[in-house]
């Protein structure tokens, strides 16, 4: 359809049509921006400290008795990027299992947090770690040695999860 009436160009006033006053206005705006305070964070010196809501590298929770993970394999199952591999074995205690192998391929992980959401033991949570640099592709596959993090360091995230995620999920469901 060819629109000839009441177009944007026709609604402009004379001063807008000759551009120059508007250009000067725009230049004024950028001049103001030039002297305004800057937003830049000087990264390696000034680090970004995320909140508990930040989804960084997924890690396994390590308590004094050992890892929380019971090797149920749900996280591996739900992971949309197929980044998790779990191999299970039994412990001495009855009906308890533990992962003999737990690997997250950080080259695949998309930081969706599904693994954390699905875990019945609150054993895998998203950490605040956002600095992941590897020199080889093989180094991107993190084993248990790199994944296990003492629970004390994860308090922010755990508190955040209690505050939001579980409460919402456990609350009375609205009929829809």
């Amino acid at each position: 359809m060819n629109v000839n009436e009441n177009t944007q160009a026709q609604r402009l006033s004379f001063w807008e049509k000759i551009y120059l006053p508007e250009i000067v206005k725009g230049l004024g705006l950028t001049l103001k921006a030039m002297v305004a305070p800057k937003m830049t964070r000087q990264y390696p010196e000034e680090r970004f400290e995320p909140d508990g809501s930040y989804r960084g590298r997924p890690v396994l929770v390590l308590e004094e008795e050992g890892e929380r993970c019971v090797a149920c394999g749900l996280c591996s199952r739900v992971c949309p990027a197929l980044a998790i591999e779990v191999q299970a074995s039994e412990t001495e205690r009855e009906k308890e299992r533990y992962p003999t192998l737990f690997e997250i391929n950080m080259l695949r992980c998309i930081f969706c947090g599904f693994c954390e959401e699905v875990c019945p033991e609150e054993a895998i949570v998203m950490s605040k770690d956002y600095e992941m640099v590897f020199e080889k592709r093989e180094d991107g596959i993190l084993g248990k040695d790199k994944l296990l993090v003492p629970v004390a360091q994860l308090q922010d995230r755990l508190a955040y999860l209690r505050r939001h995620q579980y409460y919402e999920n456990a609350g009375p469901q609205e009929a829809s």
């Binding site: 120059l20 250009i23 725009g26 230049l27 705006l29 950028t30 001049l31 921006a33 030039m34 002297v35 305004a36 305070p37 800057k38 937003m39 830049t40 000087q42």
Partner: protein
């Protein structure tokens, strides 16, 4: 015999003392000012305040591989950047950086070609030839993006040259001379041209932006449509030369603007005042005055370069039909009107 040698010496001083440092300063401030406008800080890692950034840039460009596409015409591919830079630098020949220094009774003029009686004409001729650099670059690369960029630059520069020339006619009518020094002296005596030719200056400014292919008229290298425009197929230092040529052309046209409309090296009142205080060196021909003039001129040029960069980071690029419409339907009639008004006013007063 001494004239050509003197001109050669001045050229060398100009190239290594003005154009190269000027261009690298432009690169630095282009990055800094764009950053400030984006609420960023800009380069600050290479050297104190990031001042060595241009050197890092040049070293990078020198070390990069120089790729010539197999289908390209390698001779013209090589020639195009050279044409661009040569034309951009040649414009400085007519620019007076100051008036003259009295050296043992002889006047040393602070311009490469101080008495060119066709100065302005030479400037217009050089801007016309500049289009060859870009067009040849676009054509010889044998790539459709480059070709489109080259053709755009050809039509754009030819369109805006008319308004550029006609805007200058007003200045020439007032000065009654094509000699640049004469025009400056005229302004020193009778007031800067900007007060007589405000419309002419605006037309000249817009046309000059189009001539130097700077935003908002940088259609020959419009990244969204043309990848890189005429220099898509250029890499390494050949690309660097185009880059340098762009900044050299910017400096040259800023210098022309300052010279023709803002009194060039003329600084009102201050030299007379200093002579009045008893400083003989600020009398005409003295070293102090010459330095003062060069400083004044540099400051004026720096201001116009700042405006160049400021405009680039403020105003979006024109669409191609808008560009052509602006050139032919707005600027050209306006510049004709400007000539007519100037003529009538000169008859009346």
């Amino acid at each position: 015999m001494t004239e050509p040698i003197l001109a050669l010496l001045k050229t060398i001083v100009l190239l290594f003392g003005v154009v190269l440092p000027g261009a690298s300063a432009c690169v630095y401030f282009e990055r800094k000012i764009s950053a400030w406008i984006h609420y960023r800080i800009g380069p600050n890692r290479v050297g104190p305040l990031g001042l060595l950034q241009p050197i890092a840039d040049v070293v990078k460009l020198l070390l990069k591989e120089d790729i010539v596409p197999r289908a390209a015409n390698s001779f013209f591919h090589f020639l195009a950047p050279l044409i661009s830079i040569a034309i951009a630098v040649a414009t400085f020949a007519i620019v007076p950086f100051g008036h003259y220094i009295d050296v043992g009774g002889q006047n040393l003029y602070l311009a490469i070609a101080p008495h060119t009686n066709v100065g302005i004409l030479l400037f217009l001729a050089l801007t016309s030839v500049a289009v060859y650099g870009l067009t040849l670059a676009g054509w010889s690369s044998n790539s459709k993006y480059s070709l489109l960029g080259g053709l755009r630059s050809a039509s754009q520069m030819i369109s805006y040259e008319l308004s550029l020339g006609l805007a200058l006619v007003g200045v020439l009518m007032i000065a009654g001379s094509l000699e640049v020094n004469e025009i400056v002296q005229r302004q020193a005596a009778g007031g800067w041209n900007i007060f007589y030719q405000p419309l002419g200056f605006v037309i000249f400014l817009v046309a000059a932006y189009a001539e130097t292919n700077r935003a908002p008229f940088d259609l020959p290298e419009a990244e969204p449509e043309l990848v890189g425009g005429y220099h898509t197929e250029y890499s390494g230092m050949k690309f660097g030369i185009f880059f340098l040529a762009e900044y050299a052309a910017m400096i040259a046209s800023s210098a022309i603007m300052a010279t023709l409309y803002f009194g060039g090296y003329h600084l009102p009142f201050v030299p007379q005042f200093l002579v009045g205080l008893g400083f003989e060196t600020f009398a005409p021909g003295g070293l102090g005055l010459a330095l003062l003039e060069v400083g004044t001129f540099t400051a004026k040029v720096a201001f116009f370069l700042f405006v160049y960069i400021w405009v680039r980071w403020s105003i979006p690029r024109f669409r191609y039909d808008q560009l052509m419409k602006l050139g032919w339907k707005v600027l050209l009639p306006l510049s004709l009107v400007n000539v007519a008004i100037t003529g009538i006013l000169m008859l009346l007063f």
